[in-house]
Amino acid sequence: MSTKQTEKRPSVLSQLYRGETNFQFIANRRKFYLASGIVIAALAVVMVFKGFVLGIDFAGGVQYAVPAASTSASLEDVENAAEAAGAEVGTGQVAGSGDGRSYIIRVGELESDQSTAVRDAMAAEAGVGADSISVSEVSATWGAAVSKQALIALIVFLVLVSAFIWIRYERRMAIASLGALAHDIVITVGIYSLVGFEITPSTIVGLLTILGYSIYDTVVVFDKVQENTAQLLKSRNQTFAEAVNDAVNQTLMRSINTSIIGVLPVAALLFVGVGMLGVGTLKDLALVLFVGMIVGAYSSIFLAAPWVVDLAERSAAFQRHNKKVATARAAGEKSEKPAAKAADDEDEDDDRLELAKTDDLPLELLEEPVKTGSAPRSGPSRSGQSRPNNAKKRKRR
């Protein structure tokens, strides 16, 4: 079995599936920083010069949904009817199709009696009852009020989440995840400006949800990073950067899956929101989530983990450790075969298990007949003996 497989390197997809990829995320991090930097700078320019398309909630006004499934009147006819009734038509669009087809017409702020008049006029034009026209009226301050609350929520959320990550993981990770978050927000918002998607309170809420999701994604990666690096300083096999790179590679498939599984329902939502309803909460939420989740997946792999490395390498402890590793390697003469390295990696992986923060589960529950001979797993030497066996075998195939 082993001989046959050494000849043929599995394809990238297959490697991905097995979590055996060895992309150099960390080594190439400056390229990713640069790429993100350029994108952000470009989007910043767009944001400054192009601005945003603000929805009715920010400008104030009235939105009418006129059912248009069985009317001969065109959108323009209905708009003209509204104009004639004294409304200042902002935008008009056709939403949905078939039975759900309707004209969405937005007009500026109106007095309440005017609003009724406009509604009646449009109903007459479209040949439907005034009762079948949905009206949504928003004051100019509503959008601002929602945004203000959202901003407060954002700040509270950031504080809580930073505290959580700090306590649960470490300070560096808290900083890096906040950085990744800022990156996600700026890019998402920038894309909104670039494409000219309309910003509504739902968008802002969606944006807040992305924060949660982005952090969620990042946490999955950090979790593995923490595992892989918990015992790092005690060994001399790997630098911190290498350990993190391994972690990112090992969780790569998980990250990709997480993102795909997250995006799939959002895509369904977007499809339905745009295809069936045309406008409204569903579309706004789904769109911002769709954009944000993809950006979030990128940042958790390409930015958050590398930032942790950058931050870590500034500390004296890790610099010393890097030197030690270098010396050890130089002294070890033996060429650093990836296989051997990986084996050591596995080794550590095992030692660490009992030290991981939440490993409070009675070990017996693990039901590890193989291991029981070596009794308490805290004996690193014992497990060390058995594990490399497997790992090497695997890698050498």
């Binding site: 009724t116 079948s132 997250g262 069936m276 066996n389």
Partner: protein
């Protein structure tokens, strides 16, 4: 919460089961064979093994717990819905109806009103909504300063509902001066100028305060004293968000006009002054509200239209002088389009709406065709009212509601604990006034922020769209996990189905018990959370895969993977939970429903992973399925061809 203590009869039984199945399981997995061998050589002869085996996870308690949770939820949901199939309470955007958000408009401060104030306001608004005759309105406080009114159905009088947030801050104020505002008339007549300057009406008692500084009405140069005296008047100005100050307004009209206006003690008659005061006609209602009362009153260019549109509560402050207009009334009987209003300069109020205990409509005994409103005062109110009427017999007392003088009857005699307001009320007007008095004054003023009216048809469409999105999301996620995890895809599907089975009665129960409504945003939240829920399984399965890649059999990999995956899942869900809770507590608008869905899904997700996914994986690992490469989708140590196929899928 869900870790069973590894002791007691269930685990012993499990141990027995293990002995039966153990060998059976090791055989069919070809991949595990080679690594069990060397490993077994380390531990092979170990007898303590048996002891460990007994500690293996007993899955039965988990499933029992899950079934218990399901049973309790469904039973209570059924009970809650009167033993019919429980249905979730649909929001207005899914069933049609009107939803209105009112925001408290606090004068002069950015502080949100206190919780008690809001609750009091909510009750008053609820009463008013009920009085408009709609069925089962729902009125609740959202956030710190919003009150949401939800009314289901299509048949809604939007106009009437709009007014439920009106302050109805009733004030009884003695009229010190009044004048006719003919601006509406002028507008209507358009071409011809009004016959003469505003004519004074009935009571022309000049105000004591402003007459003190009486100078000639034509005097163009103001004295400084007037400005100082006016300071009290400008105190009434509610600070609006635009941060316009009185100085800005003076600057806008020009220094000369400002000076002239402040010096006025009667309406100006000469052309020059009129021309000078012209800029006052251009002021916005907000700016007008900042002006001192005597300027508002005496400058004829300030129309009742401007005064009526001042921000809510502009004349609410009781202890200052204010200006208010009466409702427009026909100028002459033959042309109802020509209307005039009366502009009143009013004294500080000593009797307030809260002094009123009861009001009802009656007819005038002397004249049965005239409607009157009988008002009862509280003990303290009666004292104030008595003092007010005793001092001002013969004067007019204006009943000021919102920014408008509802009625300005003349005080015929002193009265104390009850009084009768007579005027030119129609039956409706009298009823309205009585209602507003009865339902009390809102402790703060409200403005309508949003009105959302959704027709039943659109509601159904939106509900359908939401359901389709949910089904589509579930199918996509299931297909993906089927392709990727093969058999384990069914575990994902099973978990999602169980999650739905838990969520549905929970929502129905919350709907019937605490009035939780399922809105479109909420549905969106559930759709989004499908991904987050399924993701917990991904984390777990990837972890199992990793363990199995390390050479373990499914049987041994699964518990190990669980220990590690569990902390990742808990951390990640904690983040989701934080974001949901923060959004729910702090955000306003439809967001909260979205946050609520996310939050409840996260809780259910954790429950499902602990009570269903993990035990089922554990249980499956004892059979042969998961150890079969072709089925489990967890093996990575397969021949490259299979691996590729799996990965491509």
């Amino acid at each position: 919460m869900c870790e069973p203590t590894p002791s007691g009869p269930p685990s012993r039984r499990a141990g027995a089961r293990y002995r039966l199945r153990g060998p059976h399981c090791a055989r069919p997995c070809p991949s595990s064979e080679e690594e069990t061998e060397p490993l077994a050589s380390v531990t092979g002869a170990d007898r303590p093994r048996k002891k460990i085996q007994r500690k293996r996870l007993a899955v039965a308690p988990y499933f029992t717990a899950l079934l218990a949770v399901l049973a309790v939820l469904w039973l209570s949901a059924l009970a809650g819905s009167g033993w019919k199939f429980p249905t979730a309470k649909l929001g207005l955007d899914l069933q049609g109806g009107l939803s209105m958000t009112l925001t408290a408009y606090q004068q002069g401060t950015d502080e949100p009103p206190s919780a008690e104030t809001m609750e009091q306001a909510r009750q008053i608004i609820e009463n008013r909504v009920n009085s408009t005759g709609v069925s089962e309105p729902e009125v609740f406080v959202e956030g710190s300063e919003n009150i949401v009114v939800n009314v289901a159905g299509d048949d809604i009088d939007e106009e009437a509902l709009r007014d439920v947030g009106a302050p109805a801050e009733l004030r009884f104020r003695i009229v010190t001066n009044s004048t006719m505002d003919t601006s509406a008339l002028e507008e209507a007549l358009a071409e011809e100028t009004p016959t003469d300057e505003p004519t004074d009406t009935a009571s022309e008692t000049p105000t004591e305060e402003s007459s003190e500084t009486a100078t000639d009405d034509a005097s163009a140069d103001p004295t400084e004293e007037t400005t100082t005296e006016d300071a009290s008047g400008s105190g009434q100005a509610p600070t609006t968000d635009e941060d316009v100050t009185i100085d800005d307004v003076w600057a806008k009209v020009g220094a000369d006009a400002a000076a002239t206006a402040q010096a006025l003690t009667a309406a100006p008659a000469d052309e020059a002054t009129m021309a000078l005061l012209e800029p006052f006609g251009e002021l916005t209602p907000e700016e007008v509200s900042l002006l001192p009362a005597n300027v508002q009153f005496f400058v004829p260019q300030i129309t009742c239209e401007q005064l009526d549109n001042r921000p809510p509560g502009a004349v609410q402050q009781a202890d200052i002088e204010v200006v208010a207009c009466s409702a427009p009334e026909p100028y002459s009987a033959d042309d109802p389009d020509l209307t005039v209003s009366y502009k009143y300069l009013l004294q500080p109020a000593t009797v307030l709406g809260s002094d009123v205990t009861q009001a009802d409509v009656g007819t005038d005994q002397a004249n049965p065709n005239m409607f009157v409103v009988n008002v009862q005062f509280s003990t303290s109110g009666a004292e104030n009212w008595g003092a007010l009427t005793a001092e001002n017999v013969g004067s007019q007392v204006a009943i000021v509601l919102d920014n408008e003088v509802v009625s300005a009857p003349t005080i015929n005699e002193a009265s104390t604990n009850s009084t009768q307001i007579s005027g030119d009320f129609t039956a409706d007007e009298a009823n309205q006034l009585a209602d507003q008095l009865n339902f009390g004054s809102l402790p703060t003023t409200f403005v309508v922020e949003t009105i959302n009216e959704v027709t039943a048809t659109l509601g159904v469409d939106q509900l359908k769209a939401g359901m389709i999105a949910m089904m589509l999301g579930l199918i996509l996620v299931f297909l993906y996990s089927m392709i990727y995890y093969r058999l384990m895809g069914f575990v994902v599907l099973g978990s999602l189905i169980v999650a739905t089975a838990v969520l549905y009665p929970a929502i129905a129960l919350l709907g019937s018990q605490v009035g939780l409504t399922l809105t479109l945003a909420g549905v969106a939240g559930f759709v989004v959370s499908i991904g987050i829920t399924a993701d917990s399984f991904i984390v777990y399965f990837e972890r199992i895969k990793e363990e199995m890649a390390g050479g373990r059999s499914a049987r041994s990999a699964i518990p190990r993977a669980w220990v590690r995956a569990r902390r990742t899942i808990l951390s990640a869900n904690a983040i989701s939970m934080i974001s949901a809770v923060v959004l729910y507590i702090l955000a306003i608008g439809p967001v909260r429903a979205f946050a609520f869905s996310l939050g409840i899904s996260t809780i259910v997700d954790v429950m499902i992973v602990f009570l269903f996914t993990h035990p089922i994986a554990e249980w499956l690992s004892r059979g042969r399925v998961l150890n079969s490469q072709a089925l489990s989708g967890l093996h990575t140590k397969t021949a490259p061809a299979t691996g590729d196929a799996a990965a491509k899928g």
